[in-house]
C-alpha cells in the first residue's frame, strides 16, 4: 500500500522555480532515499512535506489523505515527523525533556488538570516519563538524560533529534542528512540504527543524504533531484549507475 504520494509538486520563490513537477510514491515500510547535488531542492521538498512552505502547484497524499497546504501541526498529527540538516534541538532543555516535547500530543490532559494535579495528570506524566526513557535507551542516550541538549557531542545530538521525532509516533519519518559531520565509524553505526529503528517502530523512512555509501547501504529505492526537477527514480544501485546522475554529480 502506498503511504506517501506526491503529485506534480512545485513551488516558486519570486520567479525561481525551486521545485518543479516533482512526483514520488513511497510504500509503507520502505526506506527511501532522496539525493541530489547541493541546491537541488531536497530540503525544499522536506519543507513542502512538513508544511513549512505551501506548494504553488501539486498535491500531497499521506495514506490517501490530502495533506497539501496543511499546517505543520496538522501534518505532524497526520503522521509525519522530521529532523533538520542544521540540528534544531531545544538547547536549553535537558535531553529527556527534548524527547518529552516530542511526546506532546500523545497524552492529552488539559491545562487545568496540570494546575490541579488531577490523578489523570500524574498517570499521564508517568507514562510520558517511561516512554521517553525507553526511547532514550534505544538510542543509548539514557546516561545523558539529565544533561542539557546543547552539551551533547555532535553525533549524540543527531541521535537525539531522531529520538525526538520518533516520540511523536510518526508513520513517516523524514531524516535530513542524518550522517552529516559523522566519521565512517559513526556513519556505520547510524546505518545500523536506522534499520533497527525502522523495524522496531514500524516506520517508513525518507532520507536525504550525501553519503553514497549510506544510501547504497540502506535505501531500497532512491529519487535524484537536480535543479528542482526529478532526474531519475528507482532501485538504488541501478539509479546510481545512470549516466545522467553521474553527470549531475560530477558536472560536465
Amino acid at each position: 500500500m502506498n503511504l506517501l504520494e506526491i503529485k506534480n509538486l512545485g513551488i516558486s520563490f519570486g520567479g525561481l522555480r525551486a521545485v518543479d513537477d516533482f512526483n514520488l510514491t513511497i510504500r509503507e515500510g520502505q526506506l527511501y532515499g532522496l539525493i541530489g547535488p547541493n541546491g537541488a531542492g531536497k530540503t525544499t521538498v522536506f519543507n513542502l512535506l512538513t508544511g513549512v512552505y505551501r506548494p504553488t502547484t501539486g498535491k500531497i497524499f499521506l495514506k490517501g489523505q490530502n495533506i497539501t497546504g496543511k499546517s505543520s501541526i496538522e501534518i505532524n498529527k497526520a503522521g509525519i515527523a522530521r529532523t533538520f540538516q542544521n540540528i534544531r534541538l531545544f538547547k536549553n532543555m535537558t535531553v529527556l525533556e527534548n524527547v518529552k516535547v516530542g511526546l506532546h500530543n500523545r497524552e492529552n490532559y488539559g491545562v487545568i488538570s496540570s494546575l490541579l494535579k488531577l490523578p489523570g495528570y500524574r498517570a499521564a506524566e508517568r507514562r510520558i516519563e517511561e516512554r521517553a526513557m525507553e526511547l532514550l535507551q534505544v538510542f543509548s542516550l539514557e546516561e545523558d538524560a539529565h544533561h542539557l541538549a546543547s552539551n551533547l557531542p555532535y553525533g549524540k545530538q543527531r541521535k537525539l533529534e531522531i529520538a525526538r521525532a520518533l516520540a511523536s509516533a510518526p508513520t513517516l519519518l523524514l531524516l535530513d542528512e542524518p550522517a552529516a559531520g559523522m566519521n565512517p565509524q559513526e556513519t556505520a553505526e547510524l546505518m545500523e540504527m536506522i534499520r533497527f529503528v525502522q523495524k522496531k517502530f514500524d516506520v517508513t523512512i525518507l532520507l536525504i543524504e550525501h553519503d553514497m555509501k549510506l544510501v547504497l547501504g540502506i535505501c531500497e529505492e532512491i529519487t535524484v533531484l537536480n535543479f528542482g526537477c526529478l532526474l531519475a527514480q528507482g532501485e538504488t544501485a541501478s539509479v546510481l549507475k545512470d549516466p545522467r546522475v553521474i553527470k549531475a554529480y560530477l558536472g560536465d
Binding site: 505532524n76 522530521r82 534544531r88 535537558t94 506524566e125 539529565h146
Partner: protein, 341 residues
Amino acid sequence: MKNDIVKSEKKSNITGSSLLIRILVVVGIYALVSALMLTGNMSRSWESLSIRICFNVILALSLNLVVGFLGELSLGHAGFYAVGAYAGSMFAVYTDFPMFVRIIGAVLVGALSAGIAGFLISSSILKLKGDYLAIVTLAFGEIIRSFVKILPGTGGTAGLSGIPAFPSRYVGFTFAYAFVILTLIILKCFINSRHGRAVTAIRDNVISAEMLGININRYKVTVFVIASVLAGVAGVIFSFFKTMIEPNDFSYNLSIEILVMVVIGGMGNLTGSIIAAGVIVVVPELLRALEDYRMLMYAIVLIAVMLINESPKKAQFIERYSPKVLLKKLLRKGEKKSESA
C-alpha cells in the same frame, strides 16, 4: 545569558526530601514574619515592605512566564496589573457585601478581567515578534493607563479612592503571601507539565516545536492569559494595600521595573525572580540614608549587578564558593572521616 537559564535536573520527579525542604522554607518564612509582626518586633517600614514585596514577586513571577519561559519580550505587564487593580477595586468600592466577600470578589473580578484583557491582546498580536512585540505591549500598557482616565467609575486622573484596606498589616501580609505561594504552585505545575515543556520548546526553537505538533499560537495565548490573570491578582492586592489607585501608578516605567526583576533574577528562574523582586523593592528603601544620592546609587547597583551577572569570573567564583558547594565539601569530609572511623 546561557548561565541564567537555569536547569534543574530533577524537574519532573521532585523527591520527597526536596519537597519537604520547600514546604519548610515556605512555612518557615511565614512563621518568622508573622512572629515578628504579631509580637511587634518588626519595624513598621518592614511591615509595609513585606506586602509590597509580595505583590511585586507575583508580578515578576508572572512576567517571567512570558519573558523567561515563552521568550517573548513584553513591556506591557503594568497594563494587565492595572486592569486587575481597577476592576477588582471598583468591585470592592461599588458593592455593599461584607468585607470578606468584597475582598474575595475583588480578586476574582480582577483576575477575570485581566485574563480577558490578556486573551484579547495576545490573540491580536500573534504575528509580532521581538522588538515589535515589545513596542506593541508597551503601547498597550499606555493605552490602558490612558483610557482609565475617561472611563466612568475609575475616578479619572485623580484616581479611585476609598478602596477598603486590609483590616491589619498581618492580615494583609497573610493574604498577599498566600497568593505568592498560589502563584508559585500554579507556575511550577504549569511549567512541569507537557504544556510547560511545550512553551519552553517554543522559546528554544519555534520551528522544531511546530514540527512536533505544538500549537504555537494557542500556547502564546495561554501563557499571556495565565500571566495576566496573575498580574491582575497582584493588582488587586496592590489596591487593597494602597487604598487608592491612580493611572500614574501603572506607567511603562513599572513594566520596565518588573522586567528588570525578571532579568536580574535570571530568565526562566522562578527562585531568582522572587529574590530579585525582593531586592529591587528593598534596595531603594535601604538606600534612604543616602538621601539625594539614593537613586544614583540604585542605578549604579543595577548596572553593576548586570555586569557581574555576565562576567565569566562570576561563574568561577560561584563554582568554588557557593554555599551548596561548600556544604558538599564539608559533607564529603565528614563522610571520609566516618569511613576511616
